[in-house]
Symmetry: C2
Subunit: 202 residues, 2 copies
Amino acid sequence: MSPRRSVAEALGTRASILDRSVAIASMEGLEGLTIGRLAIELSMSKSGVLGHFGTKEALQLAVLDRAGEIFRAEVWEPALPAAPGLARLRVLCEAWISYLERRVFPGGCFFVAAAHEFDGRPGAVRDAVESRFGVWRARLAKEARRAVDAGELPAGTDPGRLVFELMGMAMALNHTIQLHGDPHAATYAREAVNARLTPPSA
Amino acid sequence: MSPRRSVAEALGTRASILDRSVAIASMEGLEGLTIGRLAIELSMSKSGVLGHFGTKEALQLAVLDRAGEIFRAEVWEPALPAAPGLARLRVLCEAWISYLERRVFPGGCFFVAAAHEFDGRPGAVRDAVESRFGVWRARLAKEARRAVDAGELPAGTDPGRLVFELMGMAMALNHTIQLHGDPHAATYAREAVNARLTPPSA
DNA sequence: CCTACCGATCGGTAGG
DNA sequence: CCTACCGATCGGTAGG
């Protein structure tokens, strides 16, 4: 009975496990995140760590949620004060580029990495990653559609294709920063995004 | 002495190990490629497999070389008959998109996957991946520069930025096909590439 | 939240 | 190219 902690303490422990997990998984991947390593770094036993989640897959899903909160706070929320449509899309893209530039996750975009790690492995983690990308693309497409409808982007602009291109710019930037260690590429990304997010009259 | 094979047989065995390795690593990653699994699938002993390479890292480097040969044959060589500059760049991009569409590597672009897997792990594998991307980008940039110099692309086009954007389109396509199973995105990729590879007069 | 343990698998080696 | 083996580590469980 003595090692049992209060509910508040247990939640705090859980949160600290997740924070450490995000840090590890960012560099090593969600599979490279092991219970044993977590236990050592947190000065806990393996069963103490696993007890909070049950299985490694449940831990991975919780880590994905935690990373999602961070992405939302870093990229989505800064754009909410901006007017829907082109203005918000521009703020969104700048926050996105900045998020990659500042290496909010030291191993690069958490979700792109998870997508590559799990796209060939059916299961709950793969489904969660796919769903998150679907939500993100839908959000971007919604703003793109508003911008086109408002005449802020050239008539005939395909929102789906625009979002596809924006995803590409983010992925190329992520890749260049992480593999080549070249933050200079952020200039390319900004120029490319700017070229696509310019009103027809300009 | 009896299990020893001739040099030719040994080379054949080595080639079959590499082909199987490429297939496995395409889906599971270069770390998910294990000696034990290779041995089972090839009906060999683990030491029989490892003997051809010495260490797992040497095997990974050899697999990367083999994947490089495939990429070269699928994407680079088809573009050699085309005239240097814009024409070759266009053939190159179409072969690149087709390579992703046809899933030459069932797990998606081998090098993008390897880049994500190793960009946080210093070592020979990471260096080899980075070097391969450098060579690829340099080849694309060379054709882009020729196209700009020949007036086939708008004056003032930055070859570096153009290559950055082409990398982005390929990565977005790879991601969409592998994670969302949506080959329709190849249309977006072709449209986007076309928009960037259009002569100034057109 | 712990100790103690399980079977499976990892990369790699010795010796032939 | 094999058998037989090494220490380390994996996710997970029993029992408290």
